[in-house]
């Protein structure tokens, strides 16, 4: 068990460790001020340092002050003190903690029995016994099959060895399984460190780890909160869209009134406020099965956009497109809108698979004459063609006629262009954004409302 290194560590005291820890937290975007640091130091003084939970509790109470921060805090805490403990062990030249029950024991472990024991520990054991079991599992399965050297692969392999299906039927809560996986991962990392005698380089948290939780239940509220903020932002940022007219019109009435202060001499010229140029927005939203998880997100984005931009037309598509502008104009309630769209928008086609080529041609046929250089086209979709022709030439036509074209992709950039994703073909003609967290969305909104964004394409 990784103990928080206490002041026995001669080169660095606990204060220095705490400082390094808060530094990492700041690096991950948690706002930790000096006041918080002082609090944390004071709080640490009141708990037992040997008790990991107590230290964790005291630090989290003083350093991480929102549920989002808490999530990042937990990850950073685990990582930091795990690394600190391993580093200390390496420095002291001792065998890394917890590797002993490895080789000689493993020979004696009966795999079938071990599986049972693991299931038992998962069901009603303490966290500590799960940790022990993880250690045994690594030793046993590692010996029979040999490690692949890649931690993630090994974790999956061990996970598969478990009687997982029966386990779930036997009522093992999912979070226990997850805990087990985490312990296995940690044990494997520990062995790697022991083998190579060095720590792998620290890496910042990936977006994947800090992304919004994707459980359907809690997500919606989260999204609505973000959207509400976005709406305000759009309302204020929208002002920036006011025309870039070169010549201004003098407001005679105001100028005369201002001139009273200077004895009737119009020293200060008052100009008429510029009328904002309403952007015209066309939104195409994919509602097929491959984006099911994000389509709620997208529909609420659509909803918010409709509230902020008067001149806007929206379409949903799977195989064909269908205009839903009216639905949004008639209904204010989000739930009713999403029901109306999913039931009678007329997009629920035979296969349920997206056909981008057809979508573009239909869109062009319906809308081409209405596209103009001040129009903005936004596509919400994952660019997965299901093997059908991408027809980027048609998309290029759309992009050429519209002023700006954006693509919001609900997949992490990592998965772009894998499998049947053809986002790169389209990205030539538009600006593609990955958009699966609120932060991404607000990045995009900034780009959208920024005046004078260059016409799409990097070519």
């Amino acid at each position: 068990m990784p103990q928080p290194p206490a002041d026995t560590n001669s080169s660095t005291g606990f204060d220095a460790n705490l400082l390094a820890f808060t530094h990492q937290l700041r690096g991950e975007g948690v706002a930790v001020g000096t006041a918080e640091l002082l609090d944390a130091t004071a709080a640490i003084g009141h708990v037992a340092w040997a008790d990991r939970d107590a230290v964790h509790g005291a630090l989290s109470a003083t350093l991480a002050k929102s549920p989002e921060d808490r999530r990042i805090f937990d990850i950073v805490f685990d990582r930091f003190f795990f690394r600190a403990a391993e580093q200390a062990a390496l420095d002291l030249g001792e065998p890394v903690a917890g590797s002993q029950p490895g080789d000689e024991d493993a020979a004696r472990i009966d795999i079938e029995k071990l599986k049972q024991q693991i299931a038992q520990a998962l069901r009603d054991g303490s966290d500590g016994s799960v940790r022990d079991m993880a250690r045994l599992a690594v030793a046993a399965f590692g010996q029979t099959q040999g490690g692949s050297g890649v931690v993630g692969v090994d974790v999956q392999r061990i996970r598969r060895e478990l009687p997982a299906e029966d386990a779930r039927a036997a009522g093992i809560p999912r979070d226990r399984l997850r805990l087990f996986e985490k312990e296995v991962r940690r044990e494997l990392e520990r062995q790697t460190i022991e083998r190579t005698r060095s720590l792998p380089p620290a890496r910042p948290l990936g977006d994947l780890e800090r992304g919004l939780p994707t459980g359907p239940a809690q997500d919606l509220a989260e999204i609505h909160k973000v959207i509400a903020q976005l709406r305000r932002k759009m309302a204020t940022n929208g002002q920036l869209l006011r025309g870039q007219k070169r010549s201004n019109v003098i407001d005679v009435r105001k100028t005369v009134r201002a001139s009273l202060q200077t004895g009737g001499v119009p020293v200060v010229l008052k100009q008429r406020p510029k009328r904002p140029k309403r952007p015209e927005i066309f939104v195409l939203c994919d509602v097929s099965t491959s984006v099911t998880s994000s389509s709620v997100f997208f529909l609420s984005v659509l909803h918010a956009l409709h509230d902020s931009f008067r001149k806007m037309r929206s379409f949903v598509f799977i195989e064909r497109i269908s205009e839903v502008t009216e639905v949004f104009e008639k209904e204010r309630d989000f739930k009713k809108i999403s029901r109306a769209i999913t039931t009678d928008a007329g997009v629920a086609d035979v296969s349920g698979y997206t056909d981008y080529g057809r979508v573009w041609s239909e869109f062009l046929a319906q809308i081409e004459s209405e596209l103009h250089p001040r129009a903005t086209v936004i596509v919400l979709g994952d660019a997965r063609t299901n093997g059908r022709p991408a027809r980027e030439d048609l998309f290029a036509q759309v992009a050429a006629r519209a002023g700006r074209t954006f693509w919001l992709n609900p997949e992490p950039k990592l998965y772009w262009n894998y499998g049947d994703s053809v986002i790169n073909a389209y990205a030539e003609y538009c600006i593609a954004y990955e958009c699966w967290t609120a932060a991404h969305l607000s990045d995009f909104v900034e780009a959208l409302t920024r005046p004078g964004t260059p016409r799409a394409s990097q070519r």
């Binding site: 709080a43 009141h46 107590a54 989290s60």
Partner: protein
Amino acid sequence: MSTGPKTAEDLAAQLTADGYLADTQTALVAWLAIELGKPVLVEGPAGVGKTELAKSLSRVLDRDLIRLQCYEGLDEAKALYEWNYRKQLLRIQAESDGAGWDKVQDDIFGEEFLLERPLLEAITSEEPVVLLVDEIDKTDQEFEAMLLELLSDFQVSVPELGTMTSKSHPVVLLTSNNSRELTEALKRRCLYLWIDYPEAEHELAIIRLKAPELSATVSAKLVELVGEIRALDLKKPPSIAESIDWARALLLLGADSIDSKVFAETMSVIVKHRSDLETVAARVGMKLAGGDAATAS
């Protein structure tokens, strides 16, 4: 703070004895709050025992609980202090013949004419108290700013009297349902405690504590069902308070198991929205009938 709990575990045990089952983090933060003399910001969904924590803490520490319920439009006059102007008027009238202006003026802005509201009361109390500022997220940002002086230095400035510093150090708890983001300044001055829906074991222990007459099997079943209901996408997921209510309702009905009939009858105790009722009836109620048939056969 010579008396009272010595360690966080000690405090947890005392809270349990009082009928509040605190998890380790809750007990730890509460204990740190007492030790460090810092206010605690408690956040979490409605009905997980945020307010109850303050009440129980006041009993354990043997202190008075002063509660300030926040709402939109709450202002200084209702939270901090107000001049008792009627009394001031009386005073002026009574003295109008003899005394000079200066004397009366000095007199009428004395502590005697100050109406203490909860915050000032907590500050001026001779005995240490527990101050509960409930649902701070309901107030306006300006009110939050006003609290800052109190939270960081435990003092209140009354322009006519000067600064009033606390005689005893109160334990301050602020609760929030997270309906709006609180300002950084406020958060910086507080310890932070997030209370979530409890894990099944913990909730079972709470139910057993609050409704001890309910049989163990029914309680376990109840906790399991509530957990299932919480996993659904509801407008208002049932909280601990509601599980306790449900346990007591079952007790009153003398139910010895939760079958679909009992569930349909008592469902309204834990689910408070019409649309939610439909969802729960469809998703959980149906399953329950199947489960019972299986056990019966």
